[in-house]
């Protein structure tokens, strides 16, 4: 493996929505250079790969940023940082306008105002939202994008984060990147728990299976203060395809019903987690399976729904084509395995209002940043703006020195000489442990102090085994690093759940 040394002003880890937006905002406000490290390719990487058909964080007429903060606080049953929510909410509508100026199609009323779904959602055609962002990044000459570069550890000098180590996914290169400020925008963590379909379709998840919690693990290893890891996010989804349900529930008004045809959602409440808990309870009390009642909707809605789902979850449209459309057949729903993601709950880096983490020189935005749930796309962009401004303020004139990377290189090279455990087997073992002992699907998301102690010791043993996984190429090495990231996040989740039990 060769070492390549790079330096920049603003290093951004992760080229999803938040990462791209932070790079753009930074260049708008300064003459400095930004370097964007992305482990795939920014054109379609991150949560928005398949698209999205509503911007779910918007403040409609007659409402205020405080209303949004109140809504998010209430939905999360209070476990939020209100100052963070408010600082995000104040920027939401501005990001929607900027997205429109980049070419995003947004549904309008006859008077030219945005057509809203409820007071917090704007309806869009977001199939191309990521290519639009990537296109804007490509227009800015001061942003360098390094695709296929997987960041795995921070460079920490004294009490300051001064860059990151990364490896190329396709070629034998170790990047040593130094920067005047660093932004973590690596997203949240999927793949910690056994998924709905653990066999061939095990990557048919709600959250991107490629989001491994890299930034969380890097923060934990560097000693950053983290928050909210007990707030696991379970999504209510269309069964099997794990496609979103909001378009059916809010868009066409489909109610949640049990096997007896009873509308049960009112019994439990309609907050995000209540919708899931209610469904789990109905199943546990033998009134499942549960459905969204779509049978009987006008047939023309079938056509619009088919298109809407092609723009964000094409598998659901294929499911309808293979079986029966929603006007004929209710859509079965189910809870997913738990995820850790700061965009929906408050998990992630503990950050100040300017999105500075507890480590000097390191900022966080989007799903990587904690304390501020209900971000969705526009909230992640709002945080990216705030973090870019703060990073710019923080930057000092002296660029940091590159560290000696030899020990890191030796550790990585060792994996090419092992021939023991495989990543896939250990990942399956990890997901099984988390499912059984840390509140996965098969335990209806419940856990006990005793079970968590078992999980803790079993995950520690898997973490030990992961240190001798065998790699035959760089892609394998990335898979090993990803497994180790997940294991660090699992340990953080177990520790946080133990505190809940204490």
């Amino acid at each position: 493996m060769n070492i390549q040394y790079l330096s920049t002003d603003f290093l951004i880890l992760g080229g999803g929505a938040a990462g791209c937006w932070a790079a753009l905002e930074f260049c708008k406000r300064s003459q400095g250079k930004a370097l964007l490290l992305e482990k795939a390719n920014i054109r379609r990487s991150g949560c928005l790969a398949a698209g999205v058909n509503a911007l779910n964080a918007y403040i409609g007429p007659g409402h205020t940023p405080q209303d949004y903060a109140d809504y998010a606080k209430n939905d999360a049953e209070g476990a939020v940082d209100e100052a963070l929510l408010l600082s995000m909410a104040e920027r939401l509508n501005g990001t929607v306008q900027k997205l429109e100026s980049l070419g995003l199609t947004i549904l309008k009323n006859p008077d030219g105002s945005y057509a809203t779904r409820g007071w917090r959602n704007v309806k869009i055609n977001g199939e191309n939202i990521k290519p639009l962002l990537a296109g804007a990044v490509a227009q800015e000459p001061r942003i360098t994008v390094l695709n296929q570069a997987n960041a795995f550890d921070y460079i920490v000098q004294g009490d300051r984060v001064t860059g990151a180590f990364a490896i190329a996914v396709q070629s034998p290169v170790l990047y040593v990147v130094t920067a005047k400020a660093v932004l973590c925008a690596t997203g949240g963590a999927a793949g910690l728990y056994q998924p709905n379909h653990p066999g061939f379709s095990r990557h048919k998840l709600w959250y991107p299976p490629f989001n491994t919690g890299a930034g969380y693990a890097m923060g934990v290893r560097a000693g950053a203060k983290m928050t909210g890891f007990a707030q696991r996010f379970v999504a209510l989804r269309c069964k099997d395809t794990i496609a979103p349900t909001g378009t059916l529930a809010q868009g066409v008004g489909a109610k949640q019903i049990n096997a007896l045809g009873e509308v049960y959602e009112q019994k439990y409440g309609t907050a995000t987690m209540q919708r899931v808990r209610g469904t789990v309870r109905e199943n546990a009390e033998n009134r499942g399976p549960c459905y969204l009642r779509t049978a009987g909707i006008p047939q023309e809605q079938d056509d619009e729904l088919a298109k809407a789902y092609l723009n964000m979850a094409p598998g659901q449209t294929l499911r309808w084509l293979e079986t029966a459309p929603p006007s004929v057949q209710n859509v079965e729903i189910d809870g997913t395995e738990p995820y850790i993601t700061g965009g929906h709950t408050a998990s992630g880096y503990a950050v100040a209002v300017d999105r500075a983490t507890s480590l000097k020189g390191l900022f966080a935005a989007g799903d990587a940043a904690g304390g501020c749930p209900q971000k969705y796309v526009t909230g992640a962009l709002a945080e990216a703006e705030i973090a870019a401004h703060a990073a710019l303020q923080y930057m000092q004139d002296d660029p940091p020195q590159a560290p000696d990377a030899t020990p890191v290189l030796q550790t990585l090279n060792a994996y090419f000489f092992y021939d023991t455990d495989t990543v896939d087997a250990l990942e399956e073992e990890m997901q099984g442990v988390m499912d059984a002992y840390a509140g996965g699907i098969s335990r209806q998301y419940t856990y006990t102090k005793e079970g968590l102690a078992v999980a803790e010791s079993k995950i520690a043993a898997i973490a030990q085994k992961s240190k001798s996984c065998a790699a035959k190429d760089m892609q394998d090495l990335v898979y090993i690093l990803e497994l180790q990231e997940r294991l660090v996040v699992c340990q953080a989740v177990i520790a946080a759940l133990k505190e809940v039990c204490a």
Partner: protein, 103 residues
Amino acid sequence: MSILIEESKCTGCGACTQVCPGSLLKLQDAKAKIAKPERCWGCCSCLKECPVQAIALYLGEDMGGRGGRMHVQKEGHLLHWIAALPGGATKIITVDSRDSNKY
């Protein structure tokens, strides 16, 4: 959920290998290959990039898939989704990027 690549149609242009958010597609002997189809998320980024409709989405049998295949043909701001269904029927759904979701 995963994808199938029709080798006879693939021209080896590599567009799909650039765009997969999981870096799952690689060129091998001038043909796109997916080494680990079980790692596919089903996002369809590759279908949209493929200029010759060589890539199709399908639903895995373990999630109740019935054998349908869906391609994408791009025409300016239109995306034509072409589904070959189990009974032999073909269904085409066209989405215009200038039209918003109604729901």
